[in-house]
């Protein structure tokens, strides 16, 4: 049963990954990227890494991909000029592809000699009753609560710092002030004047 889902998820993931780089419309490309992420999430769940799956969903789909979408829609990027360097950059891409292929081949060779031959195999975690979200939560919120709070404060400082350095109070900006609007009276906002015929105000 699991293998059916595995092939389903991985087939769609590979298919949509190919589509990301082949479709003409950049918005469609981002949607295919999101589809890839969703299928990768499914693969993580099948492996029992439910926390990583949720993280992928929340961080990549929820934030990063939406950010991509915003960038594409908001900024007027000329995608035909981005594609122009295809031939020039092809050797670099090919090199990276060859390196990745080599890694896959090496891992197959490693598998042939069994798990004992792979360095660091003692790190393989035994399946246990505690699911990894609970285990992580225990570590973060109990053992390392002090560090967790410190990290939160660091993020707060980063946010305040960014605001301090970039926020400028601009003059001549028209703002809506609801209180001021509702407190206006008829007498000080409308002026009735007699206009003579043939003349302006």
């Amino acid at each position: 049963m699991i293998s059916v889902f595995f092939y389903l998820f991985s087939f769609i993931a590979v298919f949509s990954a190919v589509m990301v780089i082949t479709v003409k419309n950049p918005v469609h490309s981002v949607f295919f990227l999101i589809l890839t992420f969703f299928n990768a999430t499914g693969l993580f769940v099948l492996m029992g890494a439910e926390f990583l799956a949720m993280l992928l969903l929340v961080v990549y789909v929820g934030a990063v991909a939406v950010l991509f979408l915003f960038v594409i829609m908001m900024l007027n990027i000329d995608f035909s000029s981005l594609r122009a360097g295809m031939i020039k950059n092809a050797p670099v891409g090919l090199l990276i592809g060859v390196i990745l292929l080599g890694e896959i081949i090496f891992s197959f060779i490693g598998m042939k000699y069994g798990i004992a031959g792979i360095p660091g195999n003692e790190l393989f975690v035994q399946l246990s009753e505690v699911e990894n979200t609970r285990a992580l939560g225990k570590v973060i919120y109990t053992d390392y609560i002090y560090l967790f709070q410190c990290a939160g404060l660091i993020l707060l400082v980063a946010m305040i710092g960014a605001i301090v350095l970039t926020h400028r109070r601009r003059e001549n900006v028209k703002k809506q002030d609801a209180v001021k609007q509702t407190l206006r009276s008829k007498s000080d906002s409308i002026e009735v004047s007699k206009v003579e015929i043939g003349k302006g105000v």
């Binding site: 109990t142 609560i145 002090y146 560090l147 410190c150 404060l153 660091i154 707060l156 301090v164 350095l165």
Partner: protein
């Protein structure tokens, strides 16, 4: 160990918890009560000073026995409490003396005291760290706030440059630190200081990787302390940052970083001290000389004080490089006296203002002995002390450093250090010469606030009369330094 409700566990970090809660009240208060208005600035300063005083009170009321908490991530003992108290006091004084400067330079930001409080919080976390991870988080909390403070004067190109320079180089140093710590973790399997202190099973066989990681960790802390050859950023940042922030940079983070260095060298890495002894010694001597020669031709007082800080921290490194109780004592005494005299000098610089323009050039101090004798006398005392003239406090601090160095058998090192100290005396004396012998504008009267005058007076009196109660202070330092048993 298994329940956080254990109150003795929480009470270790009570000052930090109080300060962070105070900060969380401060932020909405600043936003909703006109944080950028001139009239409100002094309220925010007072609010943050009250927060620091409260933290100090909680710190001093707490238990001063050595204990671990938060699953051994946090530690406290006499030495840490003393250094924290010194940091809080120095920060309060810097906040008081920077008040007037902020109104001159239009730094009407409530974030200014807010970020200072954040960096103080980072330093407190750093000092009570018993783990490299805690230390790193404290270091980042402190540094991030300091980067922003360096660039706080948004309309000044130099200030932005200072902030950017400090940020990029600081991030690089943090990277070195993390690299070193991760190597150390790979070798020993722990990042806890207490575990590290008895984790080197065979100290005779030290791998090259261990040396590499120790060097990386020490050099990143040396960067934060602006020790040569990691001092390049210091003069530019000190010059570019707003002067009140320069005062803060020159005093408060140095105390924290020295405390952290003591904890790393004397607790975590004490078993392998043969790796770092010579390294720290050479760094110390090098920065004494870089500080002495670099300052000789400086025209700007802020740049000069940057080099002065480099050479002063060099003396502390020299004391720490001994790896002995005596060296620890000497370095604690030195950092205390250095911070008091630096507060005095910066109070003087922050009150040097003419028609709402700060006077940064040494030549503008000409004739100050006739127009403003009180300021000239106070500054002369402070500078003579920094130069190491006998009856003053600076002499006693240097004397203790060299005494410790000679007792440990490094006679040649002591001689070289004394030569460096004599060279640096030149530029301190040069400022006094400008004030007393050169002719200047006699009608120039410094208008300063009373509290700044009081701070200047107290710090110079302390420096002048230090010899009277030197014995009890040195005994106190010995008592404090016994917190770390070597």
């Amino acid at each position: 160990m298994y329940s956080l409700s254990n109150i003795s566990n929480l009470s270790i970090a009570l000052p930090e918890i109080f300060l962070s809660l105070w900060l969380l009240i401060f932020i909405p208060l600043g936003v909703y009560s006109g944080g950028n208005k001139l009239s409100r600035q002094s309220y925010f300063s007072i609010f943050s000073i009250i927060g620091l005083l409260g933290t100090l009170l909680i710190l001093l009321m707490g238990d001063n026995r050595a204990s671990l908490g938060f699953y051994d991530l946090v530690v406290t003992d006499r030495l840490i409490i003393y250094l924290k108290a010194l940091i809080l006091l120095a920060a309060i004084l810097v906040l008081i003396i920077s008040e007037r400067y902020r109104s001159i330079e239009n730094l009407y930001l409530f974030e200014y005291p807010l970020l200072i409080l954040f960096s103080i919080l980072g330093m407190l976390v750093m000092l009570s760290a018993n783990n490299f991870i805690t230390l790193y988080l404290g270091l980042e909390l402190q540094s991030l706030a300091l980067y922003v403070l360096a660039a706080a004067k948004k309309d000044s190109l130099k200030s932005s440059e200072a902030g950017l320079k400090y940020f990029i180089l600081g991030a690089l140093a943090s990277g070195f630190f993390l690299f070193g710590v991760s190597l150390l973790f790979g070798i020993t399997g722990t990042t806890s200081f207490t575990l590290l202190s008895f984790n080197y099973l065979n100290t005779n066989e030290v791998s090259l990787l261990l040396i590499f990681s120790v060097v990386l960790i020490i050099s990143s802390i040396a960067f934060k302390l602006s020790i040569a050859p990691f001092h390049m950023w210091t003069p530019d940042v000190y010059e570019g940052a707003p002067t009140s922030i320069t005062a803060y940079f020159a005093i408060v983070p140095k105390i924290a970083a020295i405390g952290v260095l003591i904890r790393i060298l004397y607790i975590a890495l004490i078993d392998i001290n043969f790796i770092w002894l010579q390294l720290v010694l050479v760094l110390g001597l090098l920065s004494i000389f870089v500080g002495a020669f670099g300052a000789l031709l400086q025209k700007n007082i802020k740049r000069l004080l940057a080099y002065s800080a480099i050479s002063n921290i060099g003396f502390i490194f020299l004391a720490l490089s001994l790896g002995s109780q005596l060296g620890l004592e000497a370095s604690l005494l030195y950092i205390t006296i250095y911070s008091i005299s630096a507060i005095g000098v910066f109070t003087f610089i922050l009150s040097m203002e003419k028609d709402n323009i700060m006077l940064d050039n040494i030549s503008s101090y000409a004739g100050l002995s006739k127009s403003n004798p009180f300021y000239a006398v106070c500054l002369s005392i402070l500078l003579l002390s920094m130069a190491g003239l006998p009856p003053l406090a600076g002499f006693i601090a240097k004397f203790y450093v060299f005494k410790a160095v000679i007792t440990s058998g490094y006679l040649l090192t002591a001689i070289v250090g004394i030569i460096g100290s004599v060279i640096s005396a030149y530029y301190y004396l040069n400022i006094i010469k400008v004030m007393y012998l050169d002719d200047g504008d006699e009608s120039f009267i410094i208008e300063s606030r009373v509290n700044m005058k009081i701070i200047l007076f107290i710090s110079s009196t302390f420096i002048l009369s230090f010899i009277i109660f030197a014995d009890s202070i040195i005994n106190f330092m010995t008592h404090i330094s016994r917190a770390i048993i070597l």
